[in-house]
């Protein structure tokens, strides 16, 4: 009796310990260090607000956050659009479960290639003399290479969409699969056309999946630094990149302050999304 009462505590201990050691403690450290001081060589324990002050009063911070939010919104919208239709196609138009599995696997296989390699492989494709420009020129569609394809916001968004769409597809596919097919027949019986079924039944019922996918995409984009650096050719900034630069220059307290701000922002965004759904119920 008593053993069964303490059993859940024992069972939860490893998870708690790992999260405490590798999540809570590090974040606490970040918060602590964000109040430390530093010069070009070293960081010292202190309690100063300069890191926050510098961050929050600097127009760079603001424009960087704005830029990051811009990426977030665009990538979110595009992945949602693509992710929804792909999930919809798999869930409603593919009838055999085996075929669904196969096509789903087909979508996941590219994710087995290292992210970095996948990203840099866009460069020969999109470059000035890349595959795409050359094809378009051979076909006579353009007479000068399109410059915006690479080292631009377009390239950043493209690569992020490429990297993150699956995070949208999976949860939406999951919720769509759980929609009782009778509901769709009931809607059709009530005279709804395809579009009305979509807007009145499927989308409302897919909301939890959309929310979970959105959480993934939003957090991934907000924290990204490598894609932005590679694909913008170093020409654009993101919060992650700013932090990475600060870390590179050993400006840990400034990076930590930025990290805290980023964390707060991400938590706010996720909190807002979570108001719409209860994830635990959706599992």
């Amino acid at each position: 009796m008593t053993l069964s009462r303490i059993a859940p505590y024992l069972q939860a201990t490893p998870l708690t310990a790992i999260l405490a050691a590798f999540l809570v403690l590090p974040i606490a450290t970040i918060v602590m260090v964000s109040f430390w001081d530093y010069d070009s060589i070293q960081i010292f324990p202190a309690f100063v607000f300069t890191n926050y002050e510098e961050s929050l009063t600097s127009p760079v911070t603001w424009s960087t956050y704005l830029n990051t939010l811009k990426y977030t919104v665009i990538v979110w919208a595009v992945t949602l659009l693509i992710g929804f239709w792909v999930a919809y196609y798999l869930a409603f138009h593919i009838r055999s479960a085996t075929m669904q599995m196969v096509l789903f696997l087909v979508c996941t296989i590219p994710f087995l290639t290292s992210n970095i390699i996948r990203m840099i492989s866009w460069i020969p494709f999109l470059g000035r003399n890349g595959l795409l420009n050359q094809t378009l020129m051979t076909m006579g569609l353009i007479d000068r290479p399109l410059e915006f394809l690479l080292f631009s916001d377009f390239a950043v968004v493209l690569a992020m969409v490429h990297l993150y769409t699956l995070f949208m597809v999976t949860p939406i596919f999951n919720t769509l699969m759980r929609i009782d097919r009778a509901l769709i027949e009931a809607a059709r019986d009530a005279g709804a056309n395809g579009f009305q079924i979509l807007t009145n039944v499927i989308i409302p019922l897919a909301k939890p999946g959309i929310a979970i996918g959105s959480i993934f995409v939003v957090t991934l984009v907000m924290g990204d630094f490598i894609t932005v650096r590679f694909m913008s050719g170093g020409q654009s900034a993101s919060v992650g990149l700013m932090m990475a630069n600060q870390i590179a220059l050993l400006q840990y307290p400034a990076a930590a302050a930025n990290a805290v701000i980023l964390l707060v922002l991400v938590l706010l965004l996720v909190g807002a999304i979570l108001r719409i759904v209860n994830i635990r119920k959706e599992l």
């Binding site: 070009s40 760079v60 020969p124 080292f151 170093g234 870390i247």
Partner: protein
């Protein structure tokens, strides 16, 4: 086979070569475990993970930042066999007794500390050396002669509207700012008191100018790593950009014309060196010295020279190179036979001349070194602003 000790060395991919580790194992029996990182990670490792390495292969400008962290120990020059033969740039700072010390974080200014426990850099050579120089070079603009279509003479040529959207500079603040300074000065935007140690006002002028240029669309990209610069150039994304000499060689090795263009204002130089971790002692410390002495003893020097870099002790390197190689690489003379890379691939055919002339011409025309300024923190902030603009 003599020494069963393992040393963990890390540094950038430029000099952290497996060939060196293999040769070291063969010659000394010391096992070198090499880890190659990008320059950001290198400086972080040195500062934050003191016990994760035995030998750090770092750049001099980073040394200025990281040595104060106390994770490296100064080396006793008495134990360095070839100390006297090290190129004087690293000791006195002057290539020849008459040359001036270039602006920026010249290696000699951070090359020595005052004592075995000290973290203060000494003004003149002492017995305690921070880093043993490994490789160094003087950088300039690389160009695609087939695509620029005009002679390039000055750093400011990168601003030519004809190259709009086809230029690039380096996005490592401490290095990029020096490129920018060379450009600004050349274009007559500003005359610096000391490029290597700008005032806030000078930083502002420089960055504002960069931002303006960026917004006008002059740059195609900013590169951070060796390969990025190679790919930018090789794929024709840019036709003129600041570059490293082996990167130019790499482009050329793909059969693409690329020239490392000497400029009137001179070069921006850089150098790297080996530092010994604080925690090393006893047999390991001895092995580290043994390794460093071997490093300077010629084989490595020749190996590095053959890549277009320069090595610290020229005399020992010369003995490990053929006269023709020496003449080609160090004296700037036309090659009499085909010049091979260390891997044995033909890099230059007979008759070729290396860009930039002889060692003296090159290293004698250094206008500045990569540097860490007093206003570093401010500069980095403004640099980020430039990137974010």
């Amino acid at each position: 086979a003599q020494n069963p000790i393992t040393l963990r060395q890390f540094g950038t991919g430029v000099s952290n070569l497996n060939a060196i580790a293999e040769k070291c194992k063969a010659d000394l029996g010391i096992t070198l475990q090499m880890t190659a990182l990008d320059s950001d990670a290198v400086s972080q490792r040195v500062v934050t993970q003191a016990n994760s390495f035995d030998i750090a292969d770092i750049e001099y400008w980073i040394c200025k930042k990281v040595f104060a962290a106390g994770t490296l120990q100064p080396m006793d020059v008495k134990k360095i066999k070839y100390y006297d033969q090290i190129v004087p740039i690293f000791t006195t700072g002057k290539l020849t007794p008459t040359s001036t010390i270039a602006q920026g974080t010249a290696p000699s200014t951070v090359g020595f500390v005052e004592g075995p426990e000290s973290k203060t850099f000494a003004k003149a050579p002492t017995e305690w050396m921070t880093l043993i120089p490994t490789i160094y070079n003087a950088d300039t603009l690389g160009i695609r002669p087939d695509l620029v279509g005009r002679p390039i003479k000055n750093w400011k040529d990168i601003l030519d509207p004809a190259f709009k959207g086809k230029t690039s500079i380096l996005n490592i603040p401490s290095i990029g700012i020096m490129d920018a300074a060379m450009i600004c000065e050349s274009a007559g935007i500003i005359k610096y008191g000391d490029k290597g140690n700008m005032t806030k006002a000078e930083i502002d002028v420089t960055i504002d100018f960069l931002i303006k240029t960026k917004k006008a669309g002059q740059f195609r990209a900013f590169w951070k790593t060796f390969d990025e610069s190679v790919n930018l150039m090789a794929s024709g994304e840019v036709v003129i950009q600041s570059m490293w000499s082996p990167a130019v060689a790499a482009v050329r090795s793909k059969g693409i014309p690329c020239v490392y263009q000497p400029l009137e204002e001179g070069y921006r130089a850089w150098g790297g060196g080996l530092g010994i971790a604080k925690h090393l002692k006893g047999a390991q410390l001895d092995a580290a010295y043994e390794y460093i002495n071997w490093y300077l003893s010629g084989w490595v020097g020749a190996y590095l020279n053959r890549q277009g870099y320069y090595s610290a002790v020229l005399s020992t390197a010369e003995k490990n190179m053929s006269p023709d190689e020496w003449a080609f690489w160090m004296l700037g003379q036309p090659a009499k036979t085909d010049i091979l890379s260390p891997e044995g691939k033909v890099m230059y055919t007979a008759g070729a001349v290396r860009d930039g002339g002889s060692f003296e011409q090159r290293m004698g025309a250094v206008a500045c070194w990569n540097s860490v300024m007093d206003e570093d923190r401010y500069m980095v902030r403004r640099w980020n602003e430039f990137i974010a603009a």
